[in-house]
């Protein structure tokens, strides 16, 4: 047996994976080679010390605190997911809205008119007018989307919107993560 082989066998010998035939050859080599015998002794010592090492135990109330922290974070996460989805939805719809309004030009005026309708003398008429404008807006928006789909600007703008939405999402996530982390350190 060479020193190289003996070294390789030391692992197996420590962990009980050594065939009996090899064991004899291994022991013969240790009788002859002082260096390998020393390594083997050192490894056995390490093995004995580490086997005897105790398990470190956490403070008495640790399990209670840890499970409470985990359960609370879970609940907080549930409370956050709903508003988060709502926020993302709202953001996407408003981006779509602004995008359509900008593209349709004329309906931008309609958006501005809507803001004024509370100050007009005839509230009902204004309301109806507003609703009508809104309806037209939707129609125009649909029309714009339909025509814009074939236009050259469509995909760049969609990419821009998607990109900004992604940035916004990432920032929200980072902020939330930080607040989660802060909540768990007590």
């Amino acid at each position: 047996m060479t020193c190289q082989e003996a070294q390789e066998h030391m692992m197996g010998a420590l962990d009980g994976h050594m065939p009996d035939t090899e064991r004899l050859r291994f022991q013969d080599h240790l009788q002859l080679c002082r260096e390998c015998a020393q390594t083997w002794l050192a490894l056995q010592q390490v093995d004995a010390v580490l086997r005897a090492a105790p398990m470190a135990t956490p403070p008495a109330n640790f399990a209670r605190r840890a499970s409470r922290a985990a359960l609370e974070t879970g609940q907080r996460q549930h409370r956050i997911v709903g508003p988060l989805l709502l926020g993302v939805g709202g953001l996407l719809v408003s981006l779509l809205f602004v995008f359509s309004a900008l593209l349709s030009g004329g309906s931008m005026v309609a958006v501005l008119t809507l803001l004024l309708f509370g100050q007009l003398p005839g509230m009902t008429e204004a309301l109806i007018e507003g609703m009508w404008l809104l309806l037209r807006m939707v129609w125009v928006a649909v029309d714009v989307w339909r025509t814009a789909f074939w236009g050259p600007l469509f995909w760049p703008v969609v990419a821009l919107v998607a990109f900004s939405a992604a940035i916004w999402l990432a920032m929200t996530y980072i902020t939330l993560r930080r607040s989660w982390a802060a909540a768990t350190v007590r």
């Binding site: 030391m10 692992m11 420590l14 962990d15 390594t39 050192a42 490894l43 056995q44 010592q45 390490v46 093995d47 004995a48 010390v49 580490l50 086997r51 005897a52 090492a53 105790p54 398990m55 470190a56 135990t57 956490p58 403070p59 640790f62 399990a63 209670r64 605190r65 840890a66 499970s67 922290a69 985990a70 359960l71 974070t73 879970g74 996460q77 768990t184 350190v185």
Partner: protein
């Protein structure tokens, strides 16, 4: 290994996981109680600082709770949870390296609560344990993890692969190098910790039954008995 005990425990854990997934908070608390010591010990052995270990162990349980729905019941729960804890500790060590915090700057050792029976023996064991930890901290984290998983959790090479995501040959190499390096460190820094031949035999005999408890030596077994 005591197979009927192991099977019963795995069955119990599976029940807890299912109940916790169904919203039973008590079941999750029992899982945490059963794994508090193994997870804490892993964090302590990897990070070397009791306060940081507590923090890391708590974070591990938060992750476990969040990812419980991804747990595959065909795997051993202990491997799954130790894997989450290991990865979290390695992440922390990486972040620590980026912050350039050296071992010397770390907080001083707090004494460990040992399981030795009488106070005198306990004090000696505590001191020895802290010194042992200081030596362990000198190993590179990549070597330390397989060593801790092998000695404190009695994991086989294959189980270490499952927990760490390393290949079998990588686990064998690292474990071997970790032992060699630990031998060097021990010889250089704590030659008095090296046991005599007689003591070695005595220790091996004493430790053998404790390991039959499976994961986490006496720690998990105690926790399970307490539940």
């Amino acid at each position: 290994m005591n197979d009927p005990d192991m099977a019963a425990r795995q069955h119990q854990e599976r029940m807890w996981v299912e109940a916790a997934l169904a919203g039973d908070e008590r079941a999750f608390e029992q899982l945490v109680a059963a794994y508090a010591t193994p997870v804490y010990n892993l964090a302590y052995r990897m990070l070397g600082d009791p306060a940081e270990a507590e923090d890391a162990a708590q974070e591990t349980f938060i992750r476990v709770y969040r990812r419980l729905h991804t747990y595959d019941p065909s795997r051993k729960f202990s491997s799954w949870i130790l894997s989450i804890a290991s990865h979290h500790c390695i992440d922390r060590l990486r972040r620590r390296r980026h912050r350039h915090v050296s071992l010397e700057e770390m907080p001083p050792w707090k004494p460990l609560v040992s399981q030795a029976p009488d106070p005198e023996e306990r004090a000696v064991a505590r001191d020895e344990s802290a010194r042992l930890q200081a030596l362990l901290d000198d190993l590179p984290p990549d070597y330390r993890l397989p060593l801790v998983l092998h000695y404190w959790y009695g994991l086989s090479y294959n189980e270490i692969c499952e927990v760490t995501g390393l290949s079998l040959s990588a686990v064998k190499t690292r474990l071997h190098r970790a032992r060699l390096k630990f031998a060097d460190i021990m010889r250089a820094r704590a030659p008095d910790l090296i046991p005599s031949a007689g003591e070695r035999r005595k220790r091996a005999a004493r430790k053998a039954p404790a390991e039959a408890n499976g994961v986490g030596r006496a720690g998990t077994a105690d926790a399970h008995r307490a539940v």
